[in-house]
Symmetry: C2
Subunit: 219 residues, 2 copies
């Protein structure tokens, strides 16, 4: 591991990755952000990510990936598929984009390699487990090893939210002094409505319940 404390944060413009961005600003000397245009329906995700990076004073690199939608159709990239509001019994939600997080982490590592950064930060979490296999800790650890061997570089993949539920993520953003920024600027909603969102999709329900729980705990 090199001695410089330079980190690349995977930034989608959502609550989790935005919280990670400010966490990284506290933990590292130099922070860079990377985002992905992979054909997702909500193009404003990346516009928000860029705005958030600007507010944080962090350079933002956007990478276009059209290959994911060439290989698999799902509700996040195919506008003819509607997002399931209920997780189907024993199945993955139809918002699963297979392989997405390994592709993203690998591109983030390639970017980090070109700027001599050795720390990667991603907001994946097992706590409010959605069923996405590539949000699990074992996946993140295995990806860390595969990426390091692929590039012959000792990366560390940081997952500061891995064991936090949504109310604890709000708590962390409050400790970092950015709860209002996260609440107002980020997009979590599957229907593409920023800030408090549609309130109906699974992502909104989780986010709102977490915020309520955290705010109640402060009273």
């Amino acid at each position: 591991m090199k001695t410089n404390k330079r980190a690349v944060v995977l930034l989608s413009g959502g609550q989790d990755s935005t919280t990670c961005l400010f966490w990284a600003k506290r933990e590292f000397d130099e922070v860079y952000a990377i985002g992905f245009d992979y054909g997702q329906k909500h193009k404003k995700e990346n516009a928000l990510a860029k705005e958030i990076a600007d507010m944080a004073g962090v350079p933002f690199k956007l990478v276009s990936i059209d290959s994911l939608s060439q290989l698999h159709h799902n509700a996040l990239t195919d506008s003819s598929i509607e997002v399931c509001h209920e997780k189907p019994e024993g199945e993955l939600p139809n918002t699963f984009v297979p392989g997405r997080n390994l592709i993203f982490l690998t591109y983030a590592a390639i970017y980090a390699y070109t700027i001599d950064a050795h720390h990667l930060v991603t907001g994946v979490s097992e706590a409010d487990y959605s069923g996405y296999p590539d949000c699990r800790n074992n996946f993140a650890r295995a990806a860390n090893v595969a990426i390091s061997l692929a590039l012959d570089t000792e990366f560390e993949v940081h997952t500061p939210l891995m064991w936090l539920d949504k109310s604890e993520v709000w708590k962390l953003s409050d400790e970092l002094g950015v709860l209002d920024l996260v609440r107002e600027k980020t997009l979590t909603c599957y229907n593409g409505i920023p800030a408090d969102g549609c309130g109906e999709c699974p992502a909104c329900k989780l986010r709102r319940a977490g915020l309520q729980k955290y705010l109640n705990s402060k009273k």
Copy 2:
């Protein structure tokens, strides 16, 4: 592991991956091939890969990836950089495309996932070690675990050439009955000349020396 013996072969149109394609045809019930257009200078690679797949009676899926050249410049994707004919002392050759094999394996796994295949075949090798870290066995094993966890699917990454030198790869293609096909149809040369190639670049030298050694051993 599912009981079907369906495999996806990463096919570049070179000697190694073409040999792997015919190896897979011997080992598995159903074989599919996947190739990548990642901005490499020699577009004919993929045209040859398609021709070879057709001759083998195997469906060929071509995936376009322009994100690698968005992130890093190297002699294989940037026409303003000339291929180094000598490997620089203590450095990687300037033909190294960082992260390439992890990206390719992940896309191959995503494709395999969509067609319910669990075997992936790639022609990477440590024997004639070029210095590319993502050709090593440890990398292939780590990638196998990361990919399987990412997609929650038990993949097996096969690397039949891992410990074979070039003369042994020629021997394998002879055993598979395709030595002449491999010699005439594949492109290994960094200067884009198929079959016996330019004879000057490191890839041609390795390929020719291996063929000579194997042909001599048969006398």
